[in-house]
């Protein structure tokens, strides 16, 4: 993509704001529109855009394949882990009230951690899908057309 100057410049400009917007949607999700699902997708979009414009190998050098599965698993573990903590604290599974001394703070931080888990997993899944499709060797070479 050496000749697509405009695409390259715009992408360089856009990646950082998209990442920032992803974080905003993530952490603003508990009292505004947004949340883990959307944030995970937006965050992944920034990296996928980078990959499309600058090539898969450069994306792999900043975000290696082995991280995909780890993040995917970690997000789910974070979600399920909140439930385990509330069990240990003597509540029912995923009861946020018992997480912190005050029930209000527990509800507040409980949902933030849950959404973070969702966000991380969705981000991991999006990257896994992108790597899964983009990483396949093309069955027809460009020169064969």
């Amino acid at each position: 993509m050496d000749h697509h100057l405009i695409l390259r410049v715009v992408t360089r400009l856009l990646v950082a704001p998209i990442l920032l917007f992803g974080l905003y949607v993530q952490f603003h999700g508990d009292f505004g529109p947004g949340g883990g699902f959307q944030a995970g997708v937006i965050f992944a979009v920034a990296l996928i855009l980078y990959g499309i414009v600058f090539g898969l190998s450069r994306l792999r050098s900043i975000f290696p394949d082995r991280w995909v599965m780890r993040l995917l698993a970690f997000g789910l573990l974070l979600y399920a882990g909140v439930g385990v903590v509330s069990l240990i604290q003597g509540g029912n599974y995923l009861d946020y009230n018992v997480l912190l001394p005050s029930a209000k703070a527990g509800q507040h931080y409980g949902i933030i951690v849950i959404e973070l888990g969702v966000g991380i997993t969705v981000f991991g899944v999006m990257m896994a899908i992108y790597y899964g499709f983009a990483g396949r060797p093309p069955s027809i070479e460009d020169t064969d057309w």
């Binding site: 599965m69 780890r70 995917l72 698993a73 970690f74 789910l76 573990l77 399920a80 882990g81 439930g83 385990v84 069990l87 003597g90 509540g91 029912n92 599974y93 995923l94 009861d95 946020y96 009230n97 018992v98």
Partner: protein
């Protein structure tokens, strides 16, 4: 210490039975080597099995357990509600997972690429979690979510068979399209009853639908959508197209696990909706069951068994036989009596053991000979005597010979047919069992009477495969002779569906009461 643990599990059992495999699934991905992943997977299955056994003992006297997720009181919050019926289904699912997993460790060496083993375990655990969740939850939308968790991971697991046979991909795709269609129908039906009642809690739905006029068209349409949607998941006779391909081309342990659990869980959900949520006194519901589902079940018993007779691929033969067996389970349900439901639940258990043992034994032969065709089985009785003997016992149980668990369930089913004064149905049950004799005899003939390939050495299956197979075989014979426990649990399950104990107030609240 032990007492503290049992009180804790009695308080949180329904939840832990699902949370443990759910947490084990990402752990299996994070495990660096596949032995560690296997250990995590198996330990979680054993834990769930223990919890399920505890739930069965607690609910055996008709107690209904209610657990409020997140401390939100039902019907607003999500509730896990367990009576004898779900406890039995949970027991079947976790028991099969526990027995299958050691076998799976050996069999996937040949069937799945080594670097995918940890992901395979993770996927299996998600499927297991989903099936357990469907059985335990008392929330209609939660049923849909868990059904999708199990189905989506099942599609992936079936597709894993592609390493051996590329046709697994198209089988998985068929299953994906039809399974998604089924799930969509189901959720549309849920939307409609939500529109009428304003609730999604199964028990609350039951209470509120009792007050709705029987002529309400939305309720009728919802019933149609739900029965068709679940029918696709059950592989009810004309909607079974996905099943033979999926069972034939999936890795053998997955075929065994699906055949013994997935359709059973869907049948349980159908029973729950038919008896607990919708009112069985409504004419449209009775008519649908007796004039649509019952003839289709009879048709499945004959045609699917008949098709099984002509199969050359043994896994496909077993898949068609499963379709016929699903007919028996639906038949018990449509009789609308306590004995009929007892027969259904007994047969759920019996068929899980029988088909599990048969698929595993055939898998052991595939492991040694490389293929599932009839000619691979030829003369194996001399080369693999223990595996072949297991196929014979499983086959006898499939026919319903006395002394096997298959006899017990068919006996109860015939009793139910006589109780309902439907002796032609009893005759049909016996007649269709005769077709099973034909295809089981084909297996026995090929195994025992045909000569083995020239120069084949005697090579029994490895012990890690043989032990799970024989655990199931012993269970088949044991429950065949000592069936009182099984039948009484199944009867409690059937009665609790019929008498509305699940719907009524007065469930024992476990865990912390919801707010």
């Amino acid at each position: 210490m032990i007492e503290a643990i049992t009180t804790f599990t009695a308080q949180h059992g329904p939840l832990l039975a699902i949370a443990v495999p759910l947490i084990a699934s990402p752990l299996a991905i994070l495990m660096v080597n596949r032995v560690a992943a296997f250990i995590v997977t198996w330990l979680s299955a054993v834990t769930s099995f223990g919890l399920a056994a505890q739930m069965v003992t607690i609910t055996a006297d008709g107690t209904v357990l209610s657990y409020a997720i997140g401390g939100w009181a039902p019907p607003i919050g999500i509730e896990y509600r367990v009576d004898a019926a779900n406890a039995l289904v949970v027991l079947i699912v976790s028991m099969m997972a526990t027995v299958l997993l050691p076998y799976m460790r050996t069999s996937i060496e040949q069937e799945v690429a080594e670097r995918q083993h940890t992901l395979f375990y993770a996927c299996f655990l998600l499927c297991f979690t989903g099936l357990m969740g469907v059985a335990v939850t008392g929330d209609a939308f939660n049923v849909f979510v868990f059904l999708e968790i199990s189905s989506l991971s099942t599609y992936a697991l079936v597709a894993m068979g592609a390493a051996k046979d590329k046709r697994a991909l198209s089988a998985a795709y068929d299953y994906l399209v039809l399974g998604t269609l089924g799930a969509t129908f189901f959720v549309i039906g849920l939307g409609m009853i939500y529109m009428v009642t304003g609730t999604l809690n199964l028990a609350d739905l039951g209470r509120r639908l009792a007050e709705v006029d029987a002529e309400n068209r939305t309720v009728r349409t919802a019933y149609g959508f739900i029965v068709v949607g679940l029918g696709l998941k059950i592989a009810m006779y004309p909607m079974h197209r996905w099943l033979p391909g999926a069972y034939t081309f999936a890795p053998t342990t997955i075929s065994a696990f699906l055949a013994s659990t997935a359709t059973k869980v869907a049948i349980y959900v159908l029973a729950r909706f038919v008896f607990s949520v919708f009112q069985i006194d409504y004419p449209f519901e009775r008519d649908t069951l007796q004039f649509v589902v019952l003839p289709l079940a009879l048709l499945a018993m004959f045609t699917a068994s008949f098709v099984a007779v002509f199969q050359q691929n043994v896994k496909r033969l077993l898949a068609y036989s499963s379709l016929g067996q699903i007919g028996y389970m639906l038949l018990g349900l449509t009789l609308l009596t306590a004995t009929g439901l007892t027969a259904t639940f007994t047969h759920l258990f019996a068929h899980a053991l029988t088909k599990g043992a048969l698929f595993l034994a055939v898998g052991a032969i595939i492991y040694r000979t490389g293929g599932p065709m009839m000619h691979n089985l030829a003369g194996q009785a001399r080369l693999m005597p223990w595996t072949s003997a297991a196929i014979v016992v499983g086959g006898l149980s499939l026919i319903g010979i006395p002394g096997t668990v298959g006899f017990v369930s068919k006996w109860v089913l015939i009793q139910a047919a006589f109780e309902a004064d439907l002796w032609p149905i009893a005759a049909a049950i016996v007649a269709s069992s005769l077709i099973a004799v034909v295809y089981v005899w084909r297996l026995v003939e090929v195994l025992y009477l045909q000569p083995a390939r020239e120069g084949a050495a005697k090579r029994e299956a490895p012990l890690t495969m043989l032990i799970p197979i024989w655990v199931l075989v012993v269970a088949i014979v044991w429950t065949g002779f000592d069936a009182d426990g099984l039948v009484s649990v199944a009867r409690t399950a059937g009665e609790s569906l019929l008498d509305g104990g699940f719907v009524a107030d007065g469930a024992r609240i476990i865990g912390v009461p919801g707010r």
